[in-house]
Amino acid sequence: MIFNMEFETLPREALEAIQLRRLKAVAERVYATVPFYRKTFDEAGVKPGDIKSLADITKLPFTTKKDLRDNYPFGMFAVPMENVVRIHASSGTTGQPTVVGYTRRDVDTWAELMARSLAAGGATSDDIIHNAYGYGLFTGGLGVHYGAEKLGASVIPISGGNTKRQIIIMRDFKPSILTCTPSYALHLAEAAEEMGVDFESLLFKSGIFGAEPWSENMRHEIEKKLYLSALDIYGISEVIGPGVAMECLEAKNGLHIFEDHFIPEIINPETNETLPPGATGELVFTSLTKEAFPIIRYRTRDITSLSYEPCICGRTMARMKRVQGRTDDMLIIRGVNVFPSQIEAVLMDMDQVEPHYQLVVEREGTLDTLTVLVEVGEKAFSDEIRDLQKLEKEISHNIKETLAVSAKVKLVEPKTIARSEGKAVRVVDKRKL
C-alpha cells in the first residue's frame, strides 16, 4: 500500500522541482541561523544564492560526524530551544554522542515518513505492530511508534530486551508486523524455539528490520525461521531516524528514499567526487524540510549505490541498495578491505553453519591476523575431530576465495558470541596502532 499517493508517485520532473525549491530554502535557512554552516559555506566560497539547479548541491560543503561532535550538544540546532519538542542522541559507542533535535513539525514529518515505510512493508490500520526497537535516546523505538500511530495501526511498545516476555506477548497478542534489528529477529527465533513457541503458529506477515547492516542471506534465514516477509528499512538519527528509505513488499529490491524530504548522493569517500547512478560509494544526505536540525551533505559513512529505475510498486522515488558496509566498519587486513557483511555472506552460503560469528583482528609483530569465531550448532557438529577440522578449513577456504584474505577459523560453543539485544558485536579489533 502507498501511504501518500500524491508525493510517493510524483513524476520525476515535479519531484525535482520540489527538491530544488526546498534545497534553496534550506541553504538560506542554515546560512542565516547556524554559525557552523555560515562558516563552512564561507570557507567554501559559496552563498545560498549560488544554488540555481539541483546539480549545484555539489558546491555545498560536506558535514561530518566530527562536525556534529564539535558542536555538541546543541550547536547545530537551527531554531531556538523553545521550538524544540524532542531530543534524541546516538549511542556514542564510537565516541561522543551526536545530539539531534525536532520541532513539532519535524516530529510530524518523521511520523509521516515512518507511516509511509510501514505501509510499504504491508502494514495497514488493521495491523498490530510489535515494536522491539529500543525506546529512549535511540531513534528506533519512538520513530516506529509515531509512524504506527500515524498509520492508525495498533502498536505494542515492547522496546528491546526481556526476550521471554516478548515471546509470550507475541503468542498471546498475535501481532502481524515485527519491527526490530535483524540480529534481534534471529535472537527472538532462537528464544521462541527454546520456549516451544512456533513462529509458524503466529500471525506475522512482515518484519521491518534495520539499524544495522545485514545481508540477503540473512533475509532468507529470517524468513525461514520467522515465517514472515523480511524487509529492510534505513534511517540514521542525523538525517531524521528510521524512515529515510524503505523497501517495498512488491519488489524487495532496494530501498525507496523519500526524496521529497531528502536528497541522496553517492560519492567516492577518498576523492569526494560525486558518482553517477549505479556506482557504489559513500551515501550522502541533505535534509530538505527539517526545522530543528537541518543537515547539509551529511557523510553517512554507509556504502551503497542508487538506482533511478522505475519500480513495480509504482513509487517514483530513487532506490538505494541494501547498505553493504560502512566506511568505518571496513577492516583493512594486510591491505585488503574486509566488511563483516562479506564474511557473513560466506557463512550463510554454507548450509552447516549458523549466522553467528565474530571477527577478531590482532596484530602479531607487524602482521595483522584475522580470526573468525563461528558457533557450532547441531547441523555442523560431528563426533569426529577430522570432520570439524574439515569444516574449519572449508570456511577458511571460502573466505579466502571470496575476500582474498587469510583467516583462521575457530569453532566455538553455541551462544558464546555475545548476542546483544540490539546491535550484534561483529568485530573485535585488538590491534594497537
Partner: protein
C-alpha cells in the same frame, strides 16, 4: 545390538568439562565410559551414559551442542593378542574403526571396548558371526 553414545562439543577452555559433569550430575545421569578427543581449539567428549534422553535434554538446555552416535560395545578376550585378533578380523572384512576406547566396568575374563565403525551394521553382524560378544545398549548402560 548397537549402543548409543552421546557426543558433546567443547571449546578448549578452563571449566568446560566440569560444566558437563555438573549438568549430568544434577540430572542424575551416571557416566559409564568416556573418551575425550581434542585439538588446540576444541574437543569432543564422547560419553556412554545410563540415561541418554535425560542427558541430551539437560545438556541442550545448558546450551551444549550434542549429538547421538551409534557405537558397538564388544567384549575383547583379556589375553595377549585379544584386541589384535578382533582388529585384524574386522580389517579383513573391509570395515574401518573410526575410534575406540575402553569401558570401565569389568566383565568376567574379558575387556570391554567401545568401537565406532564406519559401517556399524556390517561390523556388528561380522563380529557376531565370528563369535565376539557384542553387548546391547540396555545391558551396557546398567552394567
Amino acid at each position: 545390538m548397537h549402543a548409543q553414545q552421546i557426543s558433546v562439543f567443547l571449546e578448549n577452555k578452563a571449566g568446560r568439562l566440569a560444566e558437563v559433569t555438573k549438568v549430568l550430575s544434577q540430572a542424575g545421569v551416571n557416566i559409564r565410559a568416556l573418551s575425550l578427543a581434542d585439538t588446540s581449539d576444541f574437543g569432543i567428549l564422547r560419553l556412554i551414559l545410563d540415561k541418554n534422553d535425560t542427558a541430551v535434554e539437560a545438556l541442550k538446555n545448558a546450551g551444549f551442542t550434542v549429538r547421538k552416535t551409534q557405537v558397538a560395545a564388544v567384549e575383547v578376550p583379556d589375553r595377549p593378542g585379544g584386541l589384535h585378533d578382533l582388529l585384524e578380523y574386522i580389517n579383513g572384512r573391509g570395515i574401518n574403526v573410526e575410534y575406540m576406547y575402553a569401558f570401565v566396568a569389568p566383565t568376567k575374563n574379558n575387556a570391554l571396548m567401545i568401537f565406532r565403525f564406519d559401517d556399524a551394521d556390517a561390523a556388528v553382524s561380522a563380529l557376531a558371526e565370528k563369535g565376539f560378544a557384542v553387548i546391547d545398549g540396555e545391558t551396557l548402560y546398567t552394567m
